[in-house]
Subunit: 185 residues, 2 copies
């Protein structure tokens, strides 16, 4: 099983809330971290794109919540409290499970958390990450542009190679227009 | 320490994300459940009020996320994945930490969750709960009307005695206009 397949399997189960069978850790799991770690690794280089973090996403449609805890193989790369949002352009497609129209933006707002006597409490922002749909411009990555910013700071982009850092994992969800999140009523 | 005080202390630490020192369990802790359990206990009687669950809250401002896990003393009463929202009327007051204007609605969308290999995954809705500000109408409960609905179903209200089921706990946060949640940038 390749690292990408493992990554896809893990995130698929997380995002869809399906039944989970413990993933057999193969030699490829070491590569998993490599495949997704760039997601929150602060690269010194500037963004390869002109994407900007949206200002008002907390007024967008709230898609779902997830917590990746220390026991998860994804903790190092993506640990934290995830809130996923969709802008108004993408809201209908999300609910219908259809391909997203151009100008859809899906966003992850990832925060630190603390565990206090059995409760998981939201802390400061670790990063925001977006997928912007533009079928022509981002044809080589499934029609999606990817970027993330450390702390949500527009001067601190994290993605310099969207294919390796993002799309290699997302391409496994081609059947869902490369999106892991699904609609939870 | 009364049950209300314990309740306030627990929720205060949860909502504010402050440092947590393990709560000394006193004889009063048994009463804690009684104080808040009504929150999700399905009463047969109809709502004492005409409050309705808002239809579009997932497009409101998303205030914060919290997970109350099985290890929490609040699990039985309020266990699950909490997403808190504020309508546009209340958004500015929330951010400024000021008293909320009339017609503010704060809402908790509480979902089941599963834990899968270290990740907490959102499941079906358990309930929605609101606070509606109307200083005159709800003067006896701090200016707030309270209601909750099992599964978010408007035909299944849960609150028949807002003073005992809701306000006894919220009154401890008078300094924050009876609201536990605070703004997390």
């Amino acid at each position: 099983m390749s690292s990408v397949r493992i990554c896809a399997s893990i995130i698929d189960r997380i995002r869809n809330g399906g039944r989970w069978t413990r993933i057999k850790r193969s030699a490829g799991l070491g590569l998993l971290s490599a495949a997704v770690a760039g997601f929150i690794t602060p690269f010194a280089a500037e963004s390869a794109d002109n994407l900007k973090p949206p200002a008002s996403f907390r007024n967008w449609y709230h898609v779902n919540t997830m917590v990746i805890d220390k026991g998860s193989p994804l903790f190092e790369a993506m640990g934290g409290m995830h809130d996923v949002y969709a802008n108004s352009t993408g809201e209908t497609a999300l609910k219908k499970g259809e391909p997203y129209p151009d100008e859809t933006v899906l966003l992850i707002d990832l925060h630190e958390f603390t565990v206090s006597d059995g409760s998981y409490v939201e802390g400061p922002r670790k990063l925001t990450a977006i997928m912007l749909k533009d079928k022509k411009k981002y044809a080589s990555t499934g029609g999606w542009g990817f970027q993330a910013w450390a702390g949500g700071d527009p001067t601190k982009p994290l993605v310099t190679d969207p294919t390796k850092q993002c799309f290699e994992c997302h391409q496994a969800r081609k059947d869902q227009d490369y999106v892991y999140s699904t609609y939870i009523p």
